[in-house]
Structures are given as structure tokens and as C-alpha cells.
């Protein structure tokens, strides 16, 4: 009897050990995505503002990370009434998620999602937002806003979780959340000086280091193989699922790149490489919600659609006089929306195209609509209030001279030696 008990204990210990290795590796890979955001955004802005965007990503991680520790995690994963929970820090008790890893490791992997969501916003407000106003917004976003969405989607008692909403790794909770916040922030901030000519037509402001932006894209791409497969939160019992997720994640991203390459080639006669970076990311964002429930063919179709959607969205947003220097709204907002709804269409078991009816589709649409609107409206109000009080935009002379030199006293590329 004692021997059997000892073996049973040993087995749970082993399961936890294996799952801990898996989750901690994925969490670290997800964390590296911040480096991807930093390089992608720095490459897509002018050199005079390259350091200011790096500063914003540092603020995402530092201010946002501590806020998510102190308040955010408790709101997301505490005992929820369906809409929110009240807890602080990392609770010791059972979170009801059937975790085989410690709550602290679970917190650490969730931290990666929270700071990824806010880093989406940092790109859209590039080259013009005041750093302290941004820091305040980061704290609000990571302490309250993002955790509420996570609560609805991933807390076992969340109202969307209970409805069977499938947002596996966060097309809605992370990407639509960040993307629609980015949209509201970009609208309230207004376009960069010189982004639109006297007729209101968009003027191209080329990024200063496109290879750097591409490397940022590659790091994000790599990070996604922690982001999606890591959302299994354990390897034991999931080894087949992890293979499916990794494959779907890749197929959608490759398809997104392919469709952007063809779309830009046939539209302009040349392949647009910077758009291809966005196309790959769009495929990744779109498959994030459904990577656990779609088959390989569907993942490719989702990616192909995402790659075209992102190109059209970039141009559309530009024409609407919303200035998004890095394409964050098109990549994360539009494709977060599309990817979440796509689950309702392409899920192998209960998607509309697979004879599953419209129940799941409706749930997916409601969920992402509520999250997107929530993110947009709350961000819009916060930005408006900050605009009236502390100010959100650097002054004209600072914007002309470059935020790096004026606000930070550094330049990205300085000396002759």
C-alpha cells in the first residue's frame, strides 16, 4: 500500500516537473517577444525617435510587469464572479485551472501575455506620445484593463469561458485588446506632424532601419512558438496537441506572408517587404485563437485571409487619417478580430464550415466584439482625460527635433568614431 502511494506521489511530482520545464521555457520564449516589439518598432520609426520607442517597451515590461504582479493577476485569475475578481499579488490557492505548475510560474507566463498586449499600443503611439502619460496608461492597462479581458476569457468562471468561447492563446484577449486600444490611442493623439499634406492625403514617413524591423519580426515569429504552444500550460497529456498547435502556428504565418507577397506584387508590381513582415505577423495573430481546434488546411486559409486583410487595413487606416507608424492596428486589431471569429467558422468540431452551426460563431463574435469595444472605449476615455489634464503629446518643437534628443538626451546613432 505504502509503495503504491509513494509511486503515485512520485508520478505527480514528475508530471509537475515535466510541465514546469515546458512552461518555463515557453514563458522565456514569450518574454523575448518584447525584444521583437522593440526592434520592429524602432526600425519602423525615424532615427530621431528610435530610442524613445525602446524606452516605451522598457516601460511596458517594468511598469506594466509590476502592475500586473501587484493587481493585474489577482483581477484576472482570482475567484471571479464572471466579470472580475479581487485579489492582490500571486495567490497560493487553487485557481481552478487544473494547473500542474506552480501559481508563480503560471503568473510568469501570463506576464508575457500582459506585456505583449501593451506593447502593441506602444507602436501605434510612436514618435509623438509623452513618456510619462504613456507610463500611466501602461499601469492602468496592465493592472486593470488587460486583466479584465483575461478574466472573461481564461478564468474558469469568466463569462466568456463559461459560454465556450475559444480564444486559445489570445487573438481576442491579447491582440484585439491591444489592437483596439492602439486604435483609440492613435485617434486621440492625432497623426504625426507631416503625416498628411494640406489636402489630407497620407504622406509616407519611411522607417529608418528596415532590416532592424525585419529582425524584430523574426523575433516575434520565434516568440509565437512559445506563445501558442505554451498556452497548453503543460506538456504531459498535451504532446499531440502541442504538435498540432506548433504546425498550425507556422502554417498560418507562412500563408500570411505568401498572400501579402502576392497581393502587393499584383497591386504594385513589386513585392512590399515591410508589408510582408506585417503579413506574417497577421497570420500569427489570426491563428492564435484557433490553433488548438483547426486542422492544417484551415490554418493555411486563415493565414491567407489574414495576409490580405492586413494590407487592406494598413491602407484603409492611413486614408482615415489615423496614423499608425508600425501597422499595429492592422496586424493585431483587425486580425485579432478576424482570428477570433474564424474559430467559429473553421473549428473542426463545431465551426460553421464543418457543420457545427452558428452557436460557436455567435459566441466568438460576441466575445471579440465586447473585448474590442471595451478596450477601445476605455482607452479613448483615459486618453481624453489625460489629454485634458497632464497632456499626452510632446510639443511641436520636440516632435520636430526628435524625442530622443529633447526628452532623453540621447541619440540612437551619435558619434563619428
Amino acid at each position: 500500500m505504502q509503495e503504491i502511494a509513494a509511486v503515485a506521489i512520485e508520478q505527480t511530482e514528475l508530471i509537475s516537473a515535466i510541465d514546469t520545464v515546458w512552461v518555463s521555457i515557453c514563458a522565456a520564449i514569450i518574454f523575448l517577444m518584447e525584444g521583437g516589439f522593440a526592434l520592429l518598432e524602432a526600425g519602423f520609426v525615424r532615427s530621431k525617435n528610435a530610442m524613445s520607442i525602446i524606452a516605451k517597451v522598457f516601460i511596458d515590461i517594468t511598469f506594466g510587469g509590476l502592475a500586473f504582479y501587484a493587481v493585474g493577476f489577482g483581477i484576472a485569475y482570482g475567484a471571479s464572479n464572471g466579470w472580475f475578481a479581487f485579489d492582490t499579488g500571486i495567490t497560493d490557492g487553487d485557481l481552478g485551472l487544473g494547473l500542474t505548475v506552480s501559481n508563480k510560474l503560471f503568473w510568469f507566463i501570463q506576464l508575457g501575455f500582459a506585456i505583449a498586449a501593451i506593447s502593441i499600443v506602444s507602436g501605434a503611439v510612436a514618435e509623438r506620445m509623452k513618456v510619462w502619460a504613456y507610463a500611466l496608461y501602461v499601469i492602468i492597462f496592465c493592472a486593470i484593463m488587460y486583466p479584465l479581458a483575461a478574466n472573461w476569457v481564461w478564468n474558469p468562471n469568466g463569462w466568456l469561458a463559461l459560454r465556450g468561447f475559444n480564444d486559445f492563446a489570445g487573438s481576442a484577449a491579447v491582440h484585439a485588446m491591444g489592437g483596439f486600444a492602439a486604435l483609440a490611442a492613435a485617434i486621440v493623439l492625432g497623426p504625426r506632424l507631416g503625416k498628411y499634406d494640406q489636402n489630407g492625403d497620407p504622406v509616407a514617413i519611411p522607417g529608418h532601419n528596415l532590416p532592424l524591423a525585419a529582425v524584430g519580426g523574426f523575433i516575434l515569429w520565434f516568440g509565437w512558438f512559445g506563445f501558442n504552444p505554451g498556452s497548453t500550460l503543460g506538456a504531459v497529456g498535451n504532446w499531440e496537441l502541442i504538435g498540432t498547435i506548433a504546425t498550425n502556428t507556422f502554417l498560418a504565418s507562412a500563408a500570411g506572408g505568401v498572400s501579402t507577397i502576392f497581393y502587393t506584387y499584383f497591386r504594385y508590381g513589386q513585392i512590399d517587404i515591410t508589408m510582408t513582415i506585417n503579413g506574417v505577423l497577421a497570420g500569427l495573430v489570426a491563428v492564435t485563437a484557433g490553433c488548438n481546434v483547426v486542422d492544417s488546411g484551415s490554418a493555411i486559409i486563415i493565414g491567407l485571409i489574414a495576409g490580405v486583410l492586413v494590407d487592406m487595413a494598413v491602407l484603409f487606416i492611413d486614408k482615415k487619417r489615423i496614423d499608425d507608424p508600425v501597422g499595429a492596428i492592422a496586424v493585431h486589431g483587425v486580425n485579432g478580430l478576424f482570428g477570433t471569429i474564424a474559430v467559429g467558422l473553421f473549428a473542426s468540431e463545431n465551426g460553421l464550415f464543418f457543420g457545427g452551426g452558428t452557436d460557436l460563431l455567435a459566441t466568438q463574435a460576441i466575445g471579440v466584439f465586447v473585448i474590442g469595444s471595451f478596450s477601445f472605449v476605455v482607452t479613448f476615455i483615459i486618453m481624453k482625460i489625460m489629454k485634458k489634464t497632464i497632456g499626452i503629446r510632446v510639443n511641436r518643437s520636440e516632435e520636430s527635433a526628435g524625442i530622443d534628443a529633447v526628452s532623453f538626451g540621447v541619440e540612437a546613432y551619435t558619434t563619428f568614431e
Binding site: 509616407a204 514617413i205 519611411p206 504594385y268 492611413d318
Partner: protein
């Protein structure tokens, strides 16, 4: 003593440098420059939006030569920098008042020999 300032295509720099070296007047200073000449404007695209008023990338070569070497220098640049199409660039000649070699403080024509 003259200063020869030539704005040429970046792809021609190696050939011009080699030509000048073979002609025995190897001293030159180059600056990467951006600018626009008389040729028709053209445009590029960045993320779907057209870029107008583009500045083309060119190389500016500066050579200080003795009056005797002037025509040889000009010919070498002309022979090595032309594609025969608009955008080949320009050469400008200036008078130079003085040249001083920093190491020896030598002045005048000796300083550039």
C-alpha cells in the same frame, strides 16, 4: 591648384578610384550625399503610400590636384563614371588658395605631391 568636386553614381566609385590611382593622382575624399538633379522626378512606395520628392543617393568625390593634373583627373572621372543616362552626375572645379600637410607643415604644391 584646383579642387575637383564630382557627384557620381555610387556604383561608379570603385572604377573612378581605380582610374585615379592608375593615373597617379590617388588622393581623394568621398562623402555619401543625397540630392536631386535635373532629371524627371520619380517616386517610390513605402507601405502602400507613394513617396514623392525623393533624394537620390550619390557619392561626392573631392580631389585636390595641381593645375598640370587637372585635365587628367577630369578625363579619368568622365571615362569611369558615365552610364550615358540622366543621373550620371556633375563635375565642378574650384580654385584652391592653399594646401598644408599636417605632419610636416609643408605648404603649397609640395603638400599635395
Amino acid at each position: 591648384m584646383k579642387k575637383v568636386e564630382a557627384i557620381i553614381r555610387p556604383s561608379k566609385l570603385k572604377a573612378v578610384q581605380r582610374g585615379l590611382k592608375e593615373a597617379g593622382i590617388p588622393c581623394l575624399t568621398v562623402v555619401p550625399v543625397k540630392g536631386t538633379g535635373l532629371q524627371k522626378t520619380y517616386s517610390e512606395r513605402y507601405r502602400g503610400t507613394e513617396l514623392s520628392m525623393i533624394m537620390k543617393t550619390r557619392i561626392m568625390i573631392m580631389c585636390i590636384v595641381s593645375d598640370d593634373n587637372l585635365e587628367k583627373c577630369i578625363d579619368t572621372i568622365l571615362d569611369n563614371s558615365s552610364e550615358g543616362t540622366p543621373g550620371d552626375g556633375k563635375i565642378f572645379i574650384y580654385n584652391v588658395e592653399e594646401a598644408i600637410r599636417i605632419r610636416t607643415r609643408t605648404r603649397g604644391g609640395e603638400a599635395i605631391k
